[in-house]
């Protein structure tokens, strides 16, 4: 269970090599073991130059996508994981764990402790998950907090020293590189009793606990017969526990109001010491009923020093916060669009911002626009073929707003107008972007009573909530749209003969469809 080498490569399209190796680290003792374990199938770790070239080719990040290349484009070369075989000097280096994120390619080669021919199944190679965790750890370190280039460079320059702590011999000791940073900075803490390896020091100061719940809501709305609209809430609970003592025991509870939507698919931070089986088993895979576990969700834990994601969850709320329809029709030279948005009455009508982005893909620049809107204002980005309808902080009293108009486009020029493989012809969407502070769709909250601390001193508790839209699409109902299997599944008119699930009842009610008596 070790890594033979790790690389960070910046992807630079348009440059001759299309990328630069920003960081690399090899582990020769692991390499020596690889040579023995792999035997005749051993392929050595290449130098940075050849590796860069082979990886960019495999990931299709070179600019020469024009021609068919069998070793990359053949239909039988199917890759279903982020783990690749790279052809280097006639030999195939495998397994290479690699992914691209924010224009940086993260890559490493885990040790396989056996011969590579035949290839063992990935699931049986222990170094693969470690490799991923290693790369995720580096990614978190590079992108936590800031984004600009000079800060990124500073962090990259810190990496050699950090890896000397976190991964001195190729076997990862801690994926949280910030711990290693603290270790190098304050190495002189004397630690008497058992100190967790993930907690590098102790906190001194006023006890305080901060909990923030961020819910993202995504939706796919079609406004079509035979295809159900879908929406889902994804919650992240972030905590920072500033508590004295080496291992303070804390229990954090999340609560739901009586009509709240149960939390499902809960994944917890490893510092959570035990888990109620109801939490473990509540899952979106099952059809939901009223007996679903609705909290309180208790998480006993020993917190690390830094801020951490206590848990993630999903939830199926009965209605989407904003229901809309979008109709777009091609009329000779112009497009006619009609949009209706309705905020559900149960949702807090106080946005930090709310806007609808209406992109027109695979067309030329907008040359002419006529429109009428019942609310808000429209911004036009002609070159980008994009309209942004700024709705603002509040929906009007009616909770319903509309926009209609016609758009005319000029000739297409490839550089400026966006290409999209899905929005072909009249297939189109609008995307909602909004944020509501101090609100969650599920109703999930934490308060003063949510935190139990088994340590001296009563901590100050602060709790925050917010709801953000994410991937909130409303598709043109007058054209085909990409659907998921779930959309086909939910709405089947044969349900009219069967007792209605509660969820659908609410949904129909919301859409103004009369509900037959069950």
């Amino acid at each position: 269970m070790a890594q033979r080498a790790v690389w960070l490569i910046s992807h630079e399209p348009g440059t001759p090599l299309c990328g630069t190796v920003r960081f690399s680290r090899r582990y020769p003792t692991v390499e020596k073991r690889a040579r023995v374990f792999n035997g005749a199938s051993y392929v050595p770790i290449p130098e940075d130059g050849p590796f860069l070239k082979a990886l960019l080719f495999e990931l299709r990040l070179l600019d020469d996508d024009k021609d068919f290349v069998e070793s990359r484009d053949s239909c039988s070369r199917i890759n279903k994981t982020s783990i690749y075989g790279l052809l280097i000097g006639g030999e195939e280096l495998w397994p290479v764990v690699a992914f691209l994120k924010n224009d940086i390619i993260y890559a490493c080669v885990p040790l396989v402790e056996q011969t590579l021919s035949p290839r063992p199944p990935l699931i049986s190679v222990s170094g693969v998950s470690q490799g991923f965790e290693f790369l995720f750890g580096i990614q978190d370190f590079l992108y936590s907090g800031q984004k600009n280039d000079s800060e990124l460079n500073t962090k990259l320059s810190q990496l050699p020293d950090l890896l000397l702590q976190a991964c001195p011999f190729g076997t990862l000791l801690d994926a949280n590189l910030k711990n290693s940073l603290d270790n190098t900075n304050f190495a002189s803490v004397t630690q008497p009793q058992k100190q967790p390896a993930w907690k590098t020091g102790t906190y001194k100061g006023k006890p305080q606990v901060s909990i923030s719940i961020t819910e993202k809501v995504k939706s796919m709305q079609y406004d079509k017969q035979g295809i159900a609209d879908t929406w889902q809430v994804v919650g992240t609970v972030t905590c920072k526990c500033d508590l004295e003592g080496i291992m303070p025991n804390v229990t954090i509870s999340l609560n739901l109001p009586t009509n709240g939507s149960p939390l499902q698919d809960i994944l917890v931070h490893p510092c959570v010491t035990s888990l109620d089986s109801a939490i473990l088993t509540s899952s979106s895979i099952d059809a939901m009923d009223d007996s679903a576990f609705s909290g309180p969700y208790k998480f006993p834990l020993t917190p690390p020093l830094e801020s951490f994601n206590l848990c993630y969850y999903t939830s199926q709320v009965p209605v989407p916060p904003i229901l809309g329809f979008y109709q777009m029709k091609e009329e000779e030279v112009q497009l006619r669009i009609t949009i209706n948005l309705k905020l559900h009455e149960s949702v807090k009508n106080n946005f930090e911002f709310c806007e609808a982005h209406i992109p027109f893909y695979n067309r030329g620049p907008i040359t002419h626009l006529e429109y009428k809107t019942s609310f808000g204002q429209l911004e036009v980005f002609r070159e980008k073929s994009l309209l942004i309808w700024i709705i603002g902080q509040k929906f009007p009293k009616s909770m319903e707003i509309s926009l209609s108009g016609t758009v005319t486009f000029g000739a297409k020029s490839h550089e400026k107008q966006p290409f999209d493989p899905i929005c072909i012809g009249e297939t189109a969407y609008l995307k909602l972007h909004f944020r509501i502070l101090d609100y969650t769709l599920t109703g999930c909250y934490a308060d003063q009573h949510s935190v139990q601390v088994f340590a001296s001193g009563k901590p100050k508790i602060s709790a925050h909530r917010k709801l953000i839209s994410s991937d909130y699409y409303i598709w043109n109902s007058k054209a085909p749209a990409p659907v998921t299997y779930g959309s086909l599944l939910l709405l089947d008119l044969s349900f009219l003969q069967s007792p209605l699930p509660q969820l659908k009842k609410k949904q129909l009610h919301f859409k103004g469809i009369p509900i037959p008596e069950a």
Binding site: T29, C75, F134, T171, T273, I422, Y485
Partner: protein, 878 residues
């Protein structure tokens, strides 16, 4: 050279890292390792620079110190540098320990005879134990970090030399119980324990008191290498891949030894101790611990896997990739012993959930999806090693894992695979309200094709469409309800975007004939049903070269004829010729002759005309099978990746005569005497079927007139062949050597030339009888001949030894056809005609028991020695 400045080093390290091999080949390469070791002690360099030097040595020890002795020297020097550090906190101690460890382990120097090893190991163990090493060796503030580092170094050395710490188990366990740093000690103890268990079981020994002896193994004395030596230096997989572990199991169970109750108790206590504190480890370290302990305890008697149970719920709740992966490893190691059917179901649900959880990054989803399809089931049904949906993963569970067009290519393909597996199981039945997965699959493929058809779409969109189609054909072969729409969909895609021809060609190459043949037909129709003059002509020609065959000849030829007029440039002409070539191979003749003639005249490009003419000539002159071979793929891989070169090499192979080892053997058969000329009877024998065999003979020394070649239509091994008669026309009556060459065609159509071993024509092979004189006139005829020999000729007398059969036997065996006068058993007169016009006369009379005196005369004195040798040799030949 004095110490380099900081900048000089930075520059040098930069140059090295840019390309280590180039740097080492350059002028500075040789000294780098030595300079580095020297400058570590320089007082002019900052600690920061020295750390960067050490960092380099951690990564490239093999380049800096390429052999064992250099590695030993380097490690010694690094240890010296460490000892010489002044007793104040320094950033160098840690990297120096790491560097010395790396140099020894990577350089292969670690061993009982290495002085550096014998210094490093006790030092590390002392540091790990937190002992006082004297003289302020470790400043108090560094004690804790160095203790952890020493553990890491020991763990690396143990990984490279299993058994190294077998004697320190008790000590490590004691340290873990006290105040040692939990994580490094836990991991070190787990690894050493695992290796010791494996090594001891191999030699049939138990743990003994290893887990309880708390004394340092060195005890001031030399390090104990016995366990390492027992292990034979073989590396132990710390977390073996599963199939490998299965294989190793047989070996292990043979030597597995039951531990005594005492040993088993201690072992269990140690494992529980490790597991109980495991939550203090970072998640990645916890995962390592679980892999190590899981595989260490697997199959050990008295060590119930239930020990792991208290950890499982906690682990299942997390989203950590390494932790869930480790749980899967435990599942694979223990199966039902640790996971009941309900546990298995729960684990599957957690995996399913994790494979689609929006909070996790896409690479994690994909890995979990892989884990689902390779899930180590308690009772697997399918064939081993193939991805399959576990039994408990029903359609309900999979719902959220099905693909949609909105997924990126990898997720789409991974999920599509799952969908295909569901469709394969679905067996046509419609389940309640669920939309049929098969219908969904069809829609999805249609969507993919629609994207691939986009004019400006990147190639990746087409690639994923074909990959998806390929995946579907692989998983759902033999299901016409899926394949038929797929074929038509693809044909439609070609109609819309012929520039994807390369993808189609590749796809046709990869799929089974079940799909290939019908797809070829519809694609050919797509191509030939349109006028061959649009801008996509080059793609059509490419496509047609792949799909054209003997069917629908006239449509294809019409298309080509129409296209020929538009093939203005070299590319198109070559494309056109490629189709002609494909048709030639498919055995199309009729209309193709006309087309080729037209092309040979019309094409603008001389190369194209030449090719057309060549094809025409081939078509006109070669029979079908030979043509097939001539145009078939070249046997030898072409040196250049050019189709022309490849094609040319194909011709060369097929149309030129190949030198080959002889596939035919010839032997000289029994002597026959008929007709006016001596005839050699040859018996051919073939080692492989060969055709059109031509045997060519050449007489050395022009003793005979040139020989006619002999032709054999066909020779097959095992089938008796008729003897071949080779008439000889001697120019003088002498034996000769014949050089033999064979020219033949193999069953693959190649023409081969081989040199056979020479054949020898013996003196006796030239003997011909004189015409038979009338009855009773024999003696007179002989006397006449006898007298005619002198005076030009020669006379002699030879003693011819006789075998047990006596004179009668000798004559009947060798000379029968030539006897003119016989008075058996005492007297024989023999007259032999030696072409072209010599005679040899023998009188064999008054035989004794052991021989007969032979009086001989000949009209050609040159024959005399040959005759003498011949007669003397007869007895031996009897």
């Amino acid at each position: 050279m004095g110490p380099l400045s900081r900048d000089a080093w930075a520059q040098r390290l930069g140059a090295f890292r840019a390309s280590p091999s180039a740097f080492m080949a350059g002028p500075e390469g040789e000294d780098l390792g030595r300079d580095l070791l020297g400058d570590l002690r320089s007082e002019k360099l900052s600690e920061q620079t020295k750390v960067s030097l050490l960092a380099l040595s951690l990564e490239y020890p093999a380049q800096l110190w390429p052999d064992v002795s250099a590695a030993e020297v380097a490690a010694t020097s690094l240890l010296d540098t460490l000892v010489l550090l002044p007793p104040r906190p320094s950033a160098l101690r840690r990297p120096l320990l790491l560097a010395a460890t790396t140099a020894l382990a990577a350089g292969g120097a670690l061993g009982p005879t290495s002085g550096a090893s014998c210094r490093l190991l006790p030092l590390l163990l002392g540091l790990a134990a937190g002992s006082d090493l004297g003289r302020g060796f470790v400043p108090a503030s560094e004690q804790r970090p160095l203790q952890a580092t020493a553990c890491e170094c020991l763990r690396e050395l143990e990984s490279c030399k299993p058994g190294l710490l077998g004697g320190s188990l008790g000590l490590l366990r004691g340290l873990l119980g006290q105040e040692g740093p939990v994580q490094p000690l836990s991991l070190l103890l787990a690894l050493a324990l695992r290796n010791t268990l494996v090594l001891q079981s191999r030699v049939g020994a138990g743990l003994g008191g290893l887990l309880t002896d708390k004394v340092s193994p060195t005890g001031g004395g030399p390090w104990d290498w016995t366990l390492v030596e027992e292990g034979d230096g073989r590396l132990q997989p710390q977390a073996p891949s599963w199939p490998a572990a299965e294989e190793g199991e047989g070996e292990r169970s043979l030597t597995a030894r039951e531990h005594s109750p005492e040993e088993a108790r201690e072992l269990r206590a140690a494992v529980i101790q490790l597991l109980d504190t495991s939550y203090l480890l970072t998640p990645v370290a916890q995962a390592q611990l679980l892999w190590l302990l899981g595989w260490a305890l697997r199959g050990l008697q008295g060590q119930p896997p239930a020990l792991f149970k208290p950890q499982l719920v906690r682990l299942l709740g997390t989203a950590q990739l390494t932790l869930l992966h480790a749980v899967l490893a435990l599942k694979a190691a223990f199966g039902e012993a640790l996971f009941t059917a309900q546990d298995e179901a729960l684990l599957l649900r957690r995996l399913t959930l994790a494979a689609q959880h929006p909070a996790l990054p896409p690479p994690t989803h994909l890995f979990y999806l892989h884990c689902l399809l390779s899930f180590p089931e308690n009772w697997p049904l399918g064939p081993e090693g193939e991805e399959a949906a576990p039994l408990l993963l029903g359609p309900q569970l999979c719902r959220g894992l099905l693909p949609s067009l909105l997924h990126d290519p990898m997720a789409l393909l991974a999920r599509l695979h799952l969908l295909c597996l569901l469709c394969a199981e679905d067996e046509e039945e419609e389940k309640g309200h669920l939309p049929s997965p098969r219908h969904y699959l069809e829609e999805l493929l249609a969507g993919l094709r629609q994207r691939a058809a986009l004019d400006e779409g990147p190639r990746a969109l087409a690639t994923v469409c074909f990959q998806a189609s390929y995946l579907v054909t692989r998983c759902l072969a033999g299901q016409p309800t899926v394949l038929t729409p797929l074929i038509h969909g693809l044909a439609q895609l070609y109609r819309v975007r012929p520039m994807l021809a390369s993808h189609f060609v590749d796809f046709l190459d990869q799929v089974d004939s079940e799909l290939r043949e019908p797809l070829k037909v519809v694609l050919r129709q797509e191509v030939v049903s349109r006028p061959g003059r649009d801008e996509a002509l080059c793609w059509h020609l490419k496509m047609l070269a792949k799909v054209a065959d003997g069917d629908a000849q006239s449509a294809t030829l019409n298309f080509l004829q129409a296209a020929a007029a538009h093939c203005m440039n070299w590319d198109l002409q070559q494309g056109l010729l490629r189709v002609c070539r494909a048709l030639l191979r498919a055995g199309v003749r009729g209309g193709l002759v006309d087309l080729l003639q037209v092309l040979a005249r019309q094409l603008e490009d001389p190369d194209g005309r030449d090719h057309a003419r060549l094809y025409y000539i081939l078509l006109a002159h070669l029979a079908g099978p030979k043509l097939g071979v001539a145009l078939g793929p070249s046997l030898a891989p072409p040196a250049l990746a050019s189709s022309l070169v490849a094609e040319n090499q194909g011709f060369v192979a097929a149309l030129m005569v190949q030198e080959a080892p002889a596939l035919v053997r010839l032997s000289v058969g029994s002597h026959g005497v008929k007709g006016p000329l001596p005839v050699l009877k040859l018996q051919p024998e073939a080692l492989e079927p060969i055709y059109s065999l031509e045997l060519r003979f050449r007489v050395e020394g022009q003793l005979y007139a040139p020989l006619q070649a002999v032709h054999v239509p066909c020779l097959c091994p095992g089938r008796p062949a008729r003897p071949l008669l080779l008439p000889l026309q001697p120019r003088c009556p002498a034996p000769a050597r014949l050089d033999v060459h064979a020219l033949y065609t193999t069953s693959t159509g190649l023409t081969c030339h081989a040199h056979l071993p020479p054949l020898f024509v013996n003196f006796a092979d030239l003997f011909l009888p004189f015409p038979k004189p009338p009855e009773g006139a024999g003696l007179g005829f002989f006397e006449e001949l006898w007298d005619s020999c002198l005076p030009e000729g020669a006379e002699s007398c030879v003693w011819c030894p006789l075998g047990p059969q006596g004179l009668e036997g000798l004559v009947s065996h060798h000379l029968e056809p030539f006897v003119v006068v016989a008075q058996p058993p005492t007297s024989y007169y023999v007259a032999i005609h030696l072409p072209p016009n010599s005679k040899l006369l023998l009188r064999l009379e008054a035989a004794l028991a052991d021989g007969v005196p032979v009086a001989l005369r000949t009209d050609d004195w040159a024959v005399l020695p040959l005759a003498g040798d011949y007669l003397r040799g007869l007895a031996a030949a009897l």
